[in-house]
Amino acid sequence: MPLNITDPIEGSFQLIGGNFAQAGEASTQLKIKLSALGVDELLIRRAAIATFEAEMNVIIYAAAGWLNYHITPNCITIRVEDMGPGIEDIEKAMQEGYSTAPEWVRELGWGAGMGLPNMKKNSDTFKIDSVVGEGTTVEMVINFP
């Protein structure tokens, strides 16, 4: 099915730290949008998973953040920026299984050290930038073949 995208589409969501009830809303909305645009099911799932993991990171670790997306006929770019504690050692944080999540987060089934690796795995391009004490920015691109 050809993609029903002519002009770039943009949108954003505000994320509030600690608000678990909101978790997944941005990903669900994005999923509905991509589906309406005729994007392939697997690509939608990859975008939704990457977005969901990014949302969870903001909700678990940060005070607040913004999630912006930009859809063109060629790709979707998801950018998540937060006002959080920042990541001291990005290389370590990218390792599968490494986590600094508190116990109560783990009891909810999160914080198992797969968030950032899952985001990278589902993106064609993955960039992360973090300043301790200021926040973290993640940019993920998923190409439409």
Partner: protein, 136 residues
Amino acid sequence: MTELRKKTSDSRQSFSGKNVKLKEISQLLEASIIVSPENIDDINIESACSADLMSDVLYYHSPNSLLITGLTQPHVIRTAEIAGIKAILFVLNKKPDSRTIELAQQQNIPLLSTQLCMYTAAGILYEAGVRSLRDY
């Protein structure tokens, strides 16, 4: 590689698993159905995943699969919806709260609950031909 490992590895490559009706799964596990969408009789499960870590579920994402879990919070439904999970089975007779049930109803995701533990439930389904979301 030992003979046994080799055999398992060969069977993984040659056998992609069987489709099993969700209704049949509920009978095999003597599970009660907590949320039952209208199309429940037509739901076919192609693969399964047992996990209590939501990122593990997202890692193995695959459509038309069953999630076997001990977690009953609403996040489980969100995760399922995003990962392409078709139905959720709670083990150890766990019952989800009303928010989880409500979200599952909205998303049309059937919820089942069995008295069995996760290991046994997964073992019975494996014997019935249901395979993992993905084997590496």
